[in-house]
Structure formats: structure tokens, C-alpha cells
Amino acid sequence: MPEDIKAHITGVVFQIVAHPGDPVQEGDPVIVLESMKMEIPVESPRSGRVQSIPVQEGQTVQEGEVVAVLE
């Protein structure tokens, strides 16, 4: 069952840490957002494999926007 990972704050995608196909553990940072000079990781809610990353580095994302999908 695919699961969306959503941004918990509004920010700019600073770094994509995990890429499609990568295995992740619960709590691993999937992407890092930059907001107001702070770097804030968006963490995987469970163990699994990354299916897709629908955002690009430098892109602004809103709170609640999907930034990664787990398989």
C-alpha cells in the first residue's frame, strides 16, 4: 500500500536525501526542507522503500504537500 509523506512545514526543498528505490528506516530523513534559515528534515514514518519523490531541490512546498511516496 503506497503511503504519502507530507511536508510538516512550508519551506524550500534543500536536499533530497533518499531517492526512488532506496530503502528507508522509520525516522530516516527522506528530504530536508529549508525554512527561515533552518534545515528541517522530513522523516519517514515507517520502514520501507521509496517509490517516488515528486519534488525537486529548490522547489517551494506548502505544509501538507506530498514530498515523497513510500511503496
Partner: protein
């Protein structure tokens, strides 16, 4: 004014006091912002990301040339401690309202600054004599000074790229993160190791030099209430600081500034332990966010003083004429959610009610309807109170914070109210780890 928000407005006010016209610069995100509409003139300098606007030396020098500006005030943050910017101003025939590019460069290299201050007799914390080459090197140095240690960026201060490491096992990941942050912030990933001073206070001394042989101090500020190594509450005088410690701190600060022939406003930062021992941390070669508490207790306008020094005038005061009257406290109202570990809270301000009254000063960069952008520092405003005594300043601050309304974004106001009510804060027995230890949690 190569800046935005409350500090641009603060500089503008000082300019007006001495009859200087002010020119604001603004990014696309700041069109119509209070610092733009308040200025005598305003120039657009680029897109919202700071790298393409407020951090672009070319864009700012270009704007200054277009309007025929005589001088550039950098404020704090952005390019204020960038020696290349100060040099570019000089090369363009613009007066940089601040120290020389050489002084900025010297103090911006935190390892060199440490060495230099140690060489003129200022105490520094035990640490690596230079940058560490790799994790193994960092571990050797950390073991030699003893855990916990701080990994600090050589290329710049302000708590950026700084990481506390409690044990050797945590060093590798902290080292990687700190290097990446240092590289991103300062373009230099070099790190050094310094012993971590447990339970210490952050006390700093305001310096003014005029380049004509006068270097004065404007007393101390206590700034221990911090999150992420960045300040939230500042005050002057520092409470419960023994007078002999204070005298030693101001003496050391002036000696350090004299050693580099420092010109204009700067701040010498120190850590002070409960026994009164102190160590030099770093020098900030610019106006400080918390300068208003010094202004409130001394009655002097630091930005006007900066402008006069930049114009080549001598400082008109003797050291013994600069005295602290009463007590002043500043709190920083950030668009952050203290209930969620001070997570950023960008958005649009729907309602804004500012406190006012005798002994209450507000330095505010936003208005009702302002968008609080993800691209910039989350500081919305500073509330400053001044009283005949510290309890009076605290009481005024409690009232001011109760009257302050910011809707549309989360702010640090609830946290700041808890600080004011906290028995340790009221006693003045504060230290730099209190916030992270949860002392002020709801």
C-alpha cells in the same frame, strides 16, 4: 540599507535623526513591506531567495550606485560580516558603516580570532589550535580537551554549523552535519574543537571605536536564553554578575578591540562560569540584534554613533560618562512554534497589535497583512522594556507581552511569557542550556 525588516527600519530612524535620507532595498517577496514603504527611496534588487537579493553584493552595490548613495549600512545578518562586501563598498567609493574589511576578515576567521585574542592575554577555552583534518583528528583533539566538546565552524560564528558532541561515538555524524552547514553558510567547511563549558552564561560587551585612538565599551549584555545557539532574551546589566567579573570582562573586551584597532560598533562575546571565570568566544564585527538594551540603559543611540564614526567624527564621550541606568530587557518575537521545538511558522499576519507605554519600545518589521516568507530569518519584532530596576523591567515586559497580539503565524510569545515568570530567570540565575533542558516548557 543593505537589509530588511525591523533592522532596516531602525537604521532609517537613526538616519532621520541626523538628517540623512535613507534608501531601502527589497526583494520581490518584500515589495510593499514596511521597511520599503517607510524609506525615502526604495530599489528592487532581485528575486525572493536571499542569495539573489539581500546576499548579492553586485545587486546591492548596483542599487547604491543607481541612487547615488554615499554610504551603506549593512545591519546584521546577510552581508554584514562579509569582508568582500565591505571591500566592494570601499572599491565603489561607498562608505561602509562598520569596521574595515581587514578587521571583519580577521575576526571572521574564528580560529585566527581565538589565537589573536589569546596572544593579547584574553582567556580562551581549551581546544584545537587549528582546524581539524578529519573525524579521527577531531576525536584526538576532543579526547585531549575532554568531552563534551563543541564542533565549531572556522569560517563564521553566530552558532551556525556548531554542534555539541557528548561522546566519541557521536562525533562522526556531528562532524559530517557541522561541515555541511559550515560549507553552506560560510563557503568553508573547516571545523575546530573547543571544550564545552557546562552551565555557563553568555555575557557580551558592546564596543565602539572611532579610528582616532578611542575605544570605549558600553557595558555588558546577558544573553543566555538561547535555542539552537541563538538568542531569545537579552538584558543589560547582566544580573548577579560580580562587579569584579564585570570589570575584568569590559577590560578584556577593550583590550581585544584595541589589539585590532577596531573601528565602529562591535561586540566581544564571552562565556562566564558560576565561579566568575570567563573565556573569549568570538567578536561580532557589526551592530548586534540586541543593541537596544544597551541603548536603553546608556541613553545613547548606537546607530547614530555608527553613522558619526563612519563620517569620520570622533566619539564625543569619555568612558566614565557612559553609565548604566536602570535595567533593560529585550525579547525576540520569532515566527516559530515553541510547542514544536521552535519549528518555523511562515504565513500571513492577519492581526497585529503592538504593545506600547512608558518604558516599552518595539522594533517591528511587519504589519497586519504582511507575508512572513520562508526565505528569511523568522524575527518579526523585538520588544524592549526599561525600568528603574530589573523587577520593574520584567513587570513591564510581562504587561507588554500580554498586550501583544500576532495572529496568522505561531510565535515565541507564549514561551517568552513563561521565561519572564520563571523563578530562575527572576533570580537572574540563567545559563545557555536552559531552553534545551526544557526549563521553560509549558
Amino acid at each position: 540599507m543593505a537589509n530588511r525588516g525591523e533592522i532596516a527600519r531602525r537604521i532609517m530612524r537613526a538616519c532621520r535623526r541626523v538628517g540623512i535620507a535613507s534608501v531601502a532595498v527589497y526583494s520581490e517577496a518584500d515589495a510593499g513591506a514596511p521597511h520599503v514603504t517607510d524609506a525615502d527611496e526604495a530599489v528592487a534588487i532581485g528575486p525572493a531567495p536571499a542569495r539573489q537579493s539581500y546576499l548579492s553584493i553586485d545587486a546591492i552595490i548596483g542599487a547604491a550606485r543607481r541612487v547615488g548613495a554615499d554610504a551603506v549600512h549593512p545591519g546584521y545578518g546577510f552581508l554584514s560580516e562579509n569582508w568582500r562586501f565591505a571591500e566592494a563598498c570601499r572599491d565603489a567609493g561607498l562608505t561602509f558603516v562598520g569596521p574595515s574589511p581587514e578587521a571583519i576578515r580577521l575576526m571572521g576567521d574564528k580560529i585566527q580570532a581565538r589565537r589573536l585574542m589569546a596572544s593579547v592575554g584574553l582567556p580562551v577555552l581549551p581546544g584545537s589550535d587549528g582546524p581539524v583534518g578529519d573525524v579521527a583528528d577531531a576525536e584526538r583533539e576532543a579526547t585531549a580537551v575532554g568531552f563534551p566538546v563543541l564542533l565549531k565552524a572556522a569560517g563564521g560564528g553566530g552558532g551556525i554549523g556548531m554542534a555539541r558532541v557528548n561522546a566519541a561515538g557521536d562525533l562522526a555524524s556531528a562532524y559530517a552535519t557541522a561541515r555541511r552547514r559550515a560549507e553552506a553558510a560560510f563557503g568553508d567547511p573547516a571545523l575546530y574543537v573547543e571544550r564545552y563549558a557546562e552551565g555557563a552564561r553568555h555575557v557580551e560587551v558592546q564596543i565602539l571605536g572611532d579610528g582616532r585612538g578611542t575605544v570605549l565599551h558600553l557595558h555588558e549584555r546577558e544573553c543566555s536564553i538561547q535555542r539552537r545557539h541563538q538568542k531569545l532574551v537579552e538584558e543589560s546589566p547582566a544580573p548577579v554578575l560580580p562587579s569584579e567579573t564585570k570589570a575584568a570582562l569590559t577590560r578584556a573586551a577593550v583590550a581585544g578591540a584595541r589589539a585590532i584597532d577596531y573601528v565602529n560598533a562591535g561586540t566581544m562575546e564571552f562565556l562566564v562560569d558560576s565561579a566568575g571565570a570567563f573565556w573569549f568566544l568570538e567578536m561580532n564585527t557589526r551592530l548586534q540584534v540586541e543593541h537596544p538594551v544597551t541603548e536603553e540603559v546608556t541613553g545613547l543611540d548606537l546607530v547614530v554613533a555608527q553613522l558619526r564614526v563612519a563620517a569620520g567624527e570622533p566619539l564625543p564621550w569619555r568612558q566614565d560618562e557612559i553609565i548604566q541606568r536602570g535595567a533593560a530587557i529585550e525579547v525576540r518575537v520569532y515566527a516559530e512554534d515553541p510547542a514544536k521545538g521552535f519549528l518555523p511558522s511562515p504565513g500571513t499576519i492577519t492581526t497585529l497589535v503592538l504593545p506600547a507605554g512608558e518604558g516599552v519600545r518595539v522594533e517591528c518589521g511587519v504589519a497586519s497583512g504582511s507575508a512572513v516568507s520562508v526565505h528569511y530569518d523568522p524575527l518579526l519584532m523585538k520588544v524592549v522594556t526599561h525600568g528603574a530596576t530589573r523587577p520593574e523591567a520584567i513587570a513591564k515586559m510581562e504587561e507588554a507581552l500580554a498586550a501583544c497580539v500576532v495572529d496568522g503565524v505561531k510565535t515565541t510569545i507564549p514561551f517568552l511569557r513563561r521565561v519572564m515568570a520563571h523563578p530562575d530567570f527572576r533570580r537572574g540565575t540563567v545559563h545557555t542550556q536552559m531552553v534545551e533542558q526544557g526549563a521553560f516548557n509549558a
